[in-house]
């Protein structure tokens, strides 16, 4: 009897590239945000509010968030694959990770465009 082995295939290179591209995107966003804060000399409520009122900044923040969540998915799945051997438990953890990531994405959209 063939034992089914629940692992995917052929996603290695794509995931490797994903981790690099999302990492560079997040690093750029981090440096830009630090530069904005540094240029303004710190962050107070009025400035913070004005920053998020700018739709270009909101879109950039959304892209940062999506890059982060995609990056976290690849990383967390690698961790579950490497350390959690029982298939049912691993798939459960992977599913919970996906649910959390989608929930976080929704939360982020709500923060950015939910209307305050």
């Amino acid at each position: 009897m063939v034992k089914p082995i629940v692992v995917g295939a052929h996603y290695g290179l794509k995931d490797w590239l994903t981790q690099r591209l999302t990492a560079v995107a997040m690093a750029l966003y981090t440096l830009i945000l630090l530069a904005i804060a540094g240029y303004h000399g710190g962050i107070d409520y009025a400035f913070w509010q004005a920053l998020f009122a700018n739709s270009a900044f909101r879109v950039a923040t959304l892209l940062f968030g999506l890059a982060l969540l995609w990056h976290a998915w690849v990383g967390m799945r690698d961790i579950w694959m490497d350390y959690i051997k029982p298939t049912a438990l691993r798939l459960t953890l992977e599913m919970l990770t996906v649910v959390a990531l989608l929930g976080y994405a929704g939360w982020l959209v709500d923060i950015l465009w939910g209307g305050r």
């Binding site: 409520y45 990383g75 961790i79």
Partner: protein, 132 residues
Amino acid sequence: MSSIERPAPKPRPVYLNLARIRLPVPGLVSILHRISGAGLFLVGVPLLLYGVQQSLASPESFESLRAAAATPLAKIVLIGLLWAYLHHFCAGLRYLLLDVHQFIDLKPARQSSVVVLIASLALTVLIGIRLW
């Protein structure tokens, strides 16, 4: 029949005792990259989202968030997350350099991993002191 006696095979380890493995520095940086990444996802992302939400909701919630972040417990958590971010950032930068074949040889690879370890700790201390 050959008269040469083959040496008896050494028993192979059936499991690895993590406490007895002497991890080389690149290995330490690698496992810390994983641990910091998991910490950033499990603790950092929800805290970040909550923080951004509270900081934008109203001037009052902005100030109460600032006050909550100033408690010693919050500062310890935040400095832990700061280290996780910096280590993950620096170690990730090193992996990008390895990808383009920099520091590939054993010695440079070891040296760059020491640089990552020390730089992220030093940056954590420097920024941590400023924020505390």
